[in-house]
Structure formats: C-alpha cells, structure tokens
C-alpha cells in the first residue's frame, strides 16, 4: 500500500476513485434490481387498488346498492360498473343522482381498472424476466413468491447462499425475533413468504410446517441450480413435492 501524501497525490486518488465508483455503480444494476422494483410495485398497487376499490364500493352504492351487494370481488365490481354504464334496476333503492355525479364514479372505476391492468403487465413482465434468470425457482414456487424471495434476499446470489431453513422463514422476521427474544413463550414461525404458496393451503393445518420445510428445501435446490446455470430440473422438483403431499 502506498504511503505517499501530498495534494497532487490526493487529486489523482480522488479522480480515480470517483471514476471507478461511478463505473461500479453503473455495473451493479442487473435483473435482480428490476425484479425487486417490479414486485415491490405489485405490492404497492395491491394496496392502492384495495384502498380505491373500497371507496368506489361506498360511492357507487349510493346509486346502485343492489349491484354493489351482489358483486363480491373488487375486480368484478370495477368491471361491472364500467360495463353497466349507469343502468340499474327500475325499483332500485339507490338515490337519483345527476349524470355529473355519476361521471366521477365512472372515472374512478376507469382508473382502478388501469391499475389492475398495470399489475397484470408487471406480473407477465416478471414471469418473462425470471424465465431466463431463475427458471427452476419459478417452476417450483411461482412468479409472485419467487420474486418476493428475491426482493427479500437482495439478489439471486444471496438467496443462493441461504440455507433452506432461512428461506423457509424469510419474511417472518418479526415472529422469529420475538421467538428468539422471549424463548419458549412465543413459538417459532413456520413460514414467511412461503405461506402464500398454493400447496400450503391444500394440506391439513398440522402439516403446514412440514410442507413449508419441504418446499423451502426444493426452492433452495432450485435456486442453487439457477445461480450456477445448471439444467432445468424445476419440473422434477415440483413433481416430487406434489407426490409427497397428495
């Protein structure tokens, strides 16, 4: 290491470091960053859609309470509001409102529909990008869970370095540290992000932990294969999983 001091020396060090760092920052962007932002925005959109849909529900119910009550899902309600174009049953309980009042409701419904479309576009973008980036994990865990795992770990490399037990409870940090701090009083979490996997919903409650553990194992294998660009074994892993919990 150099020991030289003096102003000219620092000037060259400054220039060299600034240039190098700028280059490094430029090169640090990869698929992982795009995936993290896309899945982050899916979460953001879900929150926004839910908030706006609730408002739409209450607002539209002033005019057509019968249909609001009939339609359960937010997305369907938005669709119905847009398709109905202000028609309703003749003896409806809803108030008589002017076309100006109704137009605002329609505008809101239109915006929510746009948000739903954006979310769908994000999802298909994620699927496309991950088919190249981590095909095995995509096959085993599905689009949203894989993306969330990647976002949580920070990069494919870091997710690859994690043991399966860490992957299993990724996203349940609060519960994990509560358990570690209080000892036996709080039970350790069984799963974090993995709880959204369809396989966990299929089995009995007693088997939730078991499924999460096996699922995490398979994901861990899949990620390792993905990182080192191995052969596609996702379908095999998935088959093994499904066979085990039938």
């Amino acid at each position: 290491m150099e020991k030289t001091r003096g102003r000219e020396h620092f000037e060259s060090l400054y220039k060299k470091n600034l240039e190098l760092t700028k280059k490094q920052v430029k090169e640090s962007v990869n698929e992982d960053s795009f995936i993290a932002h896309a899945i982050g925005n899916v979460g953001e959109l879900d929150k926004a859609i839910n908030l706006l849909s609730k408002r739409l529900r209450e607002w539209y119910a002033l005019y057509n309470p019968e249909m609001e009550r009939e339609t359960g899902e937010h997305e369907k309600l938005v669709q119905a509001v847009l398709e109905n174009k202000g028609k309703r049953e003749k003896n409806s309980m809803g108030a008589e409102i002017s076309s100006g009042d109704l137009s605002q409701i329609m505008l809101l419904a239109g915006q929510i529909k746009e948000l739903y479309d954006l979310r769908k576009k994000h999802e298909s973008y994620l699927e496309e990008i991950m088919k190249k980036h981590c095909p095995n994990m995509l096959e085993v865990a599905g689009v949203l869970i894989s993306a969330k795992l990647l976002e949580h770990a920070g990069s494919l490399r870091r997710l690859m370095m994690m043991p399966a037990s860490t992957i299993q409870i990724l996203g349940a940090e609060k519960a994990l540290f509560r358990h570690l701090k209080t000892g036996k009083k709080a039970k350790p979490p069984k799963y974090g992000i993995l709880s959204q996997h369809p396989l966990i919903g299929k089995v009995k409650k007693e088997e939730y932990g078991k499924v999460a553990r096996t699922l995490a194992d398979k994901i861990s294998i899949a990620v390792k294969v993905d990182y080192f660009k191995g052969k596609f074994i996702g379908d095999k892993l998935k088959e093994e999983l499904e066979k085990k919990f039938q």
């Binding site: 290491m1 150099e2 020991k3 030289t4 001091r5 102003r7 020396h9 620092f10 000037e11 060090l13 400054y14 060299k16 470091n17 600034l18 190098l20 760092t21 700028k22 490094q24 920052v25 640090s28 962007v29 540290f177 570690l180 701090k181």
Partner: protein, 225 residues
C-alpha cells in the same frame, strides 16, 4: 439566535438554544446542502447544523467526549459511509487540505454519495467490502484516523483488520458498535463489555460512551493504535 462559538472539539462549533446544545461545522461548500440540515450564516461564515439523532459522531460529542480525534488536515478512512450524512461533516472538519476515503458496500447509497463527492473534492467514494480491506488497498493510502459505523455481526473483526492495514502508528480509531446487529438476544451492556475486551488486546481505549438517548443500543469506542 444564540451566538455560534468554538467548542472544545477541533473545528466543531456550538450554540446554546433553549437549554439544548446545538452542534455546527463550517460549510465547506457554501449554500450547498447535503441532506436537509439547517444552514446558518454568522459573520460571513456559513455553518451547518449537525444532528445527533442522525449522526453517531455528533451524538458522541454531545455525550461529552473530550477528544474525538479528528483534526484539520487529517486523512480519514470512513467505513460504512452510507449516503454521506456524517461523512460530509467529517469533510467539513478536515477541511480542504484533509482527505476522506468513504467506503460502503451498497451501490444504492453509493449513488447518493457520489453526488456529495462531486461537490466536495476531499471525499473519495469507494464501493467495496470493508470486510476485505485488501480489495481496496490500492484505492486508498495510509490514514491518520479510522471511523467505522457498520451494522455487521463481525464489525469488531472488520475494524481490527482495517486498522492493521491502513492506520498509522499513534493514529486514532473510532468504532460505533451496534449491539443489535451483533446479537439481538443479548443484553447490549454485555456485548459492549465483550467488545471492550477484544479491543484492549491490541489498542488503547481512550474513551467509551453509550449513545443513549440519541441512538438506542449503540456505543462508541475511541481508541489509539
């Protein structure tokens, strides 16, 4: 407005306001803010307010540390620079003739730091892993003082490695210990004691201060090689 005057610490200024002590450094780049700090002008010199709640070094001074080691014209190695909040004040302290090497591993915060460095010609950004000091040895040089604020489990080990490689003899080294990132389950006080034991083996500890109430479960060691 209370008058800003010299404090006991080199190049750091203070003012009394509503029984609170406020810290300032002279702004190296007049009229340019680094974060959303408050700029105050007095006698044609511009000062930047130094917030102890966002900077552990400022907290250390307010906790009454008599000597933080930083002086004008010093060459500093700053590990864990983040977006450059504290780094900018260190750059104020060492002045135009001094120099700061700011090391961080995360590209995201480095992006912000690069903009700070473009304003301040005495900070050199280094995007590298402080855990492997050899990896950026050719980008830095021997330094007068090392300051480390890294939230890693092996932060003490990292600190000692960097001291061995970069710090001159009799140089100062400051370590901000985040107890929660060493072990969440243990009592912070026990962790501080353990850290103290390790540091004592190779360094002389000049000062040790917990940073309550400014920073929770943090403490700062001031050592000398």
């Amino acid at each position: 407005m209370a008058k800003i005057q010299k404090s006991k610490i080199f190049e750091v200024y203070e003012a009394e306001e509503e029984k609170r002590k406020l810290l300032y450094t002279i702004n190296l780049t007049p009229e340019v803010k680094v974060y959303d700090e408050i700029l105050t002008k007095q006698d044609n010199i511009e000062y930047r307010r130094w917030d102890p709640y966002s900077s552990k070094l400022a907290a250390l001074i307010l906790k009454g540390c008599p000597n933080i080691g930083f002086r004008k014209n010093d060459i500093v190695l700053y590990l864990g620079s983040a977006s450059g909040t504290t780094v900018s004040h260190v750059s104020d302290i060492v002045g135009k003739e001094g120099f700061v090497f700011a090391v961080d591993i995360a590209p995201r915060v480095m992006r912000d730091l690069v903009f700070v460095c473009e304003e301040r010609k005495n900070i050199a950004p280094i995007l590298a892993d402080a855990n492997r000091p050899e990896s950026f040895a050719d980008r830095a040089c021997e330094v007068d003082i090392i300051y480390q604020d890294i939230a890693q489990k092996n932060q003490v080990e990292i600190f000692l490695k960097n001291i061995k490689l970069f710090l001159k003899n009799n140089g100062y080294a400051l370590l901000a210990v985040k107890a929660r990132s060493i072990d969440v389950t243990k009592n912070p006080k026990d962790i501080f004691k353990e850290v103290k034991k390790v540091l004592e083996k190779s360094l002389t500890i000049i000062d040790f201060r917990p940073l309550e109430p400014f920073q929770k479960d943090h403490c700062m060691f001031v050592c000398k090689k």
